[in-house]
């Protein structure tokens, strides 16, 4: 349930004033950082209407035919059919937006207008930050405006028929691209290569502050190029010989390649690879293997699969079910479970459950949830959620006076270890907020000036609970002072799920000259003395004042500029003293408890979500509950096209052999039989370079290796190998200890040269 901030956006209300009428303004730092940090999805940040209009929230949740009639006469006829339909028809220029209208299907129009509801008041009216493709069509104080305003109010009172999440009904089919953390973990698990490539990928769009919104995870040209680069690099260091379950001996080359493609492909695509797909990749392998050897061919197979849509997107398409919906397949469910709880690809047990078609009933899914939750990987997920929920990941880039990398890491460690402990021991949301037990790394203990580090019990009066973590207090601060505004906003927006609008234009937001002798609180209290600011800031600052005992680095203080700290606060009429008391109030606040569940669902489902208050919940409760909800296994959607993934089962050895036989044996090329050689330029500058080389014995018997390469330049130093020059080629051989390589063994050497 959301709060009552609609009036803040109403065109006739607000805190807009003309500069001429008051040269004095306020906020040192306005609320906008988070207030509108919702990507290009303004729907999600537009608040609900005033409480009075919520009267019919509890009407029955079956069809509401009277709504269709009301919609048709009061909204469709006067506005949508005349102002919007021209572009928003199925074949109109706005057909790719979320509002597509159909003259002959009023229920569908009702649904479309409900999904976008608040947008109806900001898009055609020109108020939306990203504009409206069709320009401004509706102006205030017109009948059209009134009709849209009526509709927005009305939809907020509708039986929650079309609300995602609040009611447990199927959600639309989709592809959900791996987010960057999932990508990094997945390549690690798939290839056995530990890497930091995920954190170097182009940042995704944040929606509601979350960077895993399925609609926003798009593959741009930039990201596609980064995936290409990563795939090539990762495949070049992956130990493919180690992944082989067959021996690429003479006469068995194609067979062994096909086996690898079937096995690796079914893991990379997280479902059984189809015959046609094996054939495609086998052909690729053969072309390259004939030139550069068996393993080089497989390396390009891996490179290709790492860029495949079947790898990069998680499929949530399902197969058509009897009721007209789509039932997700067991493999899709396996991926949902592993990515939700572990943030990575399914493990062997999940794959086997899917292969055996025993991963679709609530019992079967519930048993896997229990198993996955008992693994430490689930704990990492809980810390990621908290970082995303409260946007604590911003700590990575903040700049503060007195800041250091050590302090940042210590603060992150406190939050992560404490959250994990809450999760591990099945504690509740209330415990997360109030438990005095926390982990204080030595650096942080020193920073706070306390003697005890490690697991400590705090007093619950100065420190205790998540709101008093250094990470949160430092992220929500300014360079060298606390920030009641930022701290108030994070509680209002992230913990109560009540979005705030940005300050209106034409309001002078420059603060009056700072009184050098004043406290931070005094500087901000001017907000409430100026009526044009108080409207918004009375929702923010009185909460933030409760944190005044903590400076910009989270350190406790009892006085500021010689004056005692006043940390009295006000949460919508509930008076409190200091952050621990605020924590207590929040745990008793239905809006906070509902927001916490909503946030878990938002993060866990990658789409807009909502929740109702169900009292105190287990910290990991909403996570455990997600797989048991209808949208986890059921989807809505258009009727599918031709289904091309027809096999539906892992190919048998005989089936793989049949593919290989039909393809025919391939004779791998390459410089030295049984040896593969890769070279990576490890550094390069205008006049020189250094390179790392890897030599792999691809046979099961001992070989003395030699490799002939064309090197552009003159080698100036070499280690772990020797070379001689023959014609255009450098001939590399091993030194005493690595001239011979055992079966499937490998060695590395390096050299530097001048261009």
């Amino acid at each position: 349930m959301k709060g009552a901030w609609w009036w803040l956006l109403a065109p006739t209300v607000g805190c807009a004033i003309d500069k001429a009428s008051s040269g004095v303004g306020t906020a040192e730092e306005e609320t906008t950082e988070d207030a509108t940090d919702s990507g290009d999805e303004p729907t999600d940040s537009v608040p609900d209407p005033e409480p009075g209009s919520e009267s019919s929230t509890d009407t029955d949740d079956s069809a509401c035919p009277e709504d269709v009639e009301v919609f048709e006469t009061r909204v469709w006829e006067p506005v949508l059919s005349t102002h919007c339909y021209g572009c928003h028809a199925a074949d109109g220029i706005a057909q790719s937006t979320r509002m597509v209208l159909d003259e002959s299907d009023m229920l569908s129009n009702l649904r479309a207008a409900t999904v976008v509801r608040d947008l109806l008041l900001v898009k055609p009216t020109g108020l939306d930050a990203v504009g409206h493709g069709g320009g401004t069509l509706v102006w205030p104080e017109t009948d059209a405006w009134d009709a849209l305003e009526f509709w927005v109010d009305w939809t907020h009172g509708l039986c929650d028929l079309f609300e995602d999440g609040c009611i447990d009904e199927p959600t639309p089919r989709r592809l959900w691209r791996l987010d960057h953390e999932q990508y990094e973990r997945t390549v690690t698990d798939l290839l056995g290569v530990s890497t930091d490539y995920g954190e170097h990928l182009a940042p995704d769009t944040a929606v509601d502050g979350y960077r895993n919104d399925a609609e926003a995870l798009v593959i741009s040209g930039l990201l596609a190029d980064q995936y290409r680069n990563a795939a090539e690099d990762l495949a070049s260091v992956a130990d493919i010989a180690d992944m082989l379950t067959c021996t690429p001996s003479d006469g068995q080359m194609t067979q062994c390649a096909a086996t690898f493609i079937e096995e690796f492909g079914s893991r990379a695509f997280r479902r059984p690879i189809a015959v046609g797909e094996v054939e495609t990749y086998l052909e690729l392998w053969a072309e390259i293997a004939e030139e550069d050897g068996f393993f080089e061919g497989l390396r390009w197979v891996v490179t290709g699969m790492l860029q495949s849509p079947h790898f990069l997107y998680r499929s949530e398409l399902g197969t058509e079910a009897d009721d007209g919906n789509f039932a997700l397949t067991d493999w899709e469910i396996a991926s949902e479970l592993s990515y939700l709880i572990w943030g990575t690809m399914p493990d062997t047990e999940l794959f086997e459950a899917a292969d055996n078609n025993v991963l679709n009933t609530p019992d079967q899914i519930g048993a896997q949830v229990d198993r996955l939750m008992s693994d430490d990987r689930a704990l990492n997920t809980t810390t990621q959620f908290v970082d995303a929920w409260l946007q604590l990941d911003r700590i990575e880039s903040i700049a503060r006076v007195g800041w250091s990398a050590d302090l940042r890491e210590a603060m992150q460690e406190q939050t992560h270890e404490t959250v994990k402990e809450i999760a591990r021991t099945d504690q509740s949301l209330t415990d997360l907020m109030l438990s005095p037990t926390t982990y204080l790394p030595e650096t942080l203990a020193d920073h706070y000036g306390t003697d005890t580090s490690g697991w400590v019990d705090q007093d619950g009066e100065t420190y205790g609970g998540l709101l008093t973590h250094g990470s949160l207090l430092s992220v929500y601060a300014l360079g060298e002072s606390s920030s009641p505004v930022h701290r108030g906003v994070v509680v209002r927006e992230r913990m109560l799920c009540e979005e705030l609008p940005p300050p209106p234009p034409n309001l002078d937001t420059s603060p009056p000259a700072a009184d050098a002798d004043g406290t931070t609180r005094e500087k901000y209290e001017v907000h409430s003395s100026l009526s044009e600011c108080a409207g918004c800031h009375s929702l923010i600052d009185p909460i933030g004042f409760g944190f005044e005992h903590y400076d910009h680095l989270g350190r406790w203080r009892t006085e500021e500029v010689g004056q005692p700290i006043d940390a009295s606060g006000d949460l919508d009429g509930l008076i409190f003293e200091g952050a621990p008391e605020l924590s207590q109030l929040l745990t008793e606040e239905p809006r906070f408890r509902a927001c916490f569940v909503e946030s878990w669902r938002r993060w866990g489902s990658g789409r807009h979500a909502c929740a109702d208050d169900e009292g105190d919940v287990q910290f990991t409760g909403p996570l455990r509950e997600l797989p048991m909800r209808v949208p986890f296994t059921r989807r809505t959607g258009d009727s599918a096209g031709e289904m091309t993934r027809a096999t539906g089962h892992r190919l048998t050895e005989d089936e793989v052999s049949a593919i290989a036989e039909a393809f025919g044996e391939v004779l791998p090329g390459g410089a030295t039989s049984g040896i593969e050689f890769t070279l990576i330029e490890s550094s390069t500058w205008t006049t020189g370079f250094c390179a790392d080389a890897t030599v792999t014995n691809t046979t099961d018997s001992l070989v003395v290796w030699e490799s002939r390469e064309e090197i552009m330049g003159t080698i100036t130093s070499i280690w772990n190998a020797e070379y001689r020059i023959e014609g255009d080629e450098h001939v590399f051989t091993g030194v005493e200890w690595n001239a011979e390589l055992p079966g499937f063994g490998s060695t590395t050497f390096g050299f530097c040269g001048a261009r």
């Binding site: 906008t32 940090d37 930050a129 089919r173 170097h200 769009t205 860029q307 495949s308 911003r394």
Partner: protein, 414 residues
């Protein structure tokens, strides 16, 4: 377990900054038939959070003006003749941080000016356009952090000079490597099309974007560089606040190189973003740029701090103009600056008011004589959609209007 650190791969022993001028052409480009009086390239430079006008405005008349000592634009003195300083220009639509950021280059439409121009003059270059940034994405993509739009979607800037360097000078030109990469692109495209066929109409947009992305990749890896690769910048973390100046300089160097080497004709360079919290620690400052942008006139200390930041941004723009003016246009006709439209865009007027009125824009370089530079213009409330229309005209793109605006070109610019 094997380890592969992108960071480690990027570490090199080379010096940190390119020597300038640094463009070393390997071969002369085919001399295109270019119309005189028509701009060849567009370079958009952005800095956030508005200005304080009385510290920004030049003094004097349209043609006889000076930058007073200590003012924001003083660092641009050497380039005065190449500047067209626009005062009194309001946005036609959009206000506030987010609205201004969204409307700045789009004027309310679905495409930003850089993308519109790229579609017109992108030609055969490897990159239809290049979007470079400095710490634009610490909060992820959002209306606050993006300025380039295509079809209403964000075009994401590349915040890593190391990645930009790889894209520009990476291992292109090897025919075997290229044929294998193209082979994979074909396989992946077929997979996407197959998957696309299984989706309903409304579910396809992600894959359509993906296909467009692969087309861009193919184009980028297929080309050849006209230039010798300079040394790669040594690795540092481009997201750390204190590295902001280094990122900015490397991105500017790479930008000039990309344009001069014919890799692209359209480039945007976005330093931070609206509400950007950058702390100019290298100037000894402790408070973020956005906070400082709200200093009242009576708060002389913080006004001075803010103006110091703004002057630093002006110095960066001056450095960019230095590089452009000392690099010869390989197509002839003078320096790169002479034939390019360089354009310093901002999203707000007075940052304290959150308004998009008198937004301080500067055009630099005449676009081969299209714009009449060396002037300080009061546009007297003319709107920015008109200026964007004029920029389109500089490239021979005769639009009647831009975005949702209706103004048409601003004749006084010529």
């Amino acid at each position: 377990m094997n380890e592969l650190s992108r960071r480690r791969l990027l570490v090199t022993g080379a010096s940190s900054i390119f020597a300038a001028p640094f463009v070393r052409l390997l071969s002369s480009p085919a001399r295109a038939t270019t119309d005189s009086g028509r701009a060849r390239r567009l370079l958009v430079f952005f800095t956030p959070n508005g200005t304080i006008h009385n510290h920004w405005r030049p003094t004097g008349s349209t043609s006889e003006f000076t930058f007073s000592a200590g003012s924001v634009l003083e660092p641009l003195n050497a380039h005065k003749d190449q500047l067209l300083i626009l005062d009194g220009m309001d946005f036609s639509t959009g206000s506030n941080h987010e609205g201004g950021m969204a409307a700045m280059l789009t004027a309310g439409g679905m495409h930003s000016i850089d993308q519109v121009v790229a579609d017109h003059i992108g030609g055969e270059s490897r990159f239809s356009s290049l979007e470079l940034g400095a710490q634009t994405s610490l909060w992820g993509g959002s209306v606050q952090t993006r300025m380039c739009y295509r079809d209403g979607n964000f075009v994401t800037p590349d915040d890593s000079p190391h990645n930009v360097f790889d894209r520009m000078f990476g291992d292109i030109g090897d025919p075997v490597l290229l044929s294998r990469r193209q082979r994979l692109l074909d396989i992946n495209r077929a997979e996407i099309n197959d998957l696309r066929g299984r989706l309903g109409m409304e579910e396809r947009h992600l894959l359509d974007a993906h296909l467009a992305g692969l087309d861009a990749v193919e184009r980028a890896i297929s080309g050849d560089s006209l230039c010798e690769s300079p040394a790669a910048p040594a690795y540092y973390d481009p997201m750390q606040n204190d590295n902001f100046p280094l990122v900015a300089q490397h991105q500017m160097d790479l930008a000039v190189q990309a344009l001069a080497c014919g890799m692209t004709n359209v480039l945007t360079l976005q330093l931070s973003h609206t509400v950007g919290p950058t702390v100019f620690s290298w100037l000894g400052q402790t408070e973020g740029h956005h906070s400082l942008s709200h200093a009242a006139d009576t708060d002389t200390t913080n006004v001075a701090n803010f103006i110091a930041c703004e002057r630093w941004y002006a110095e960066q723009f001056a450095y960019l103009l230095d590089q452009m003016s000392t690099t010869t246009d390989p197509l002839g006709g003078g320096s790169m600056l002479d034939t390019t439209v360089v354009f310093w865009a901002q999203e707000l007027g007075d940052g304290r008011m959150h308004t998009c009125e008198s937004v301080p824009w500067i055009l630099a370089g005449s676009g081969d004589g299209f714009f009449r530079t060396g002037r300080y213009l009061d546009l007297e409330g003319a709107t920015h959609d008109g200026v964007l229309t004029s920029i389109a005209h500089a490239f021979g793109l005769e639009l009647e209007a831009f975005g949702t605006g209706t103004t048409g070109p601003v004749s006084v610019l010529r």
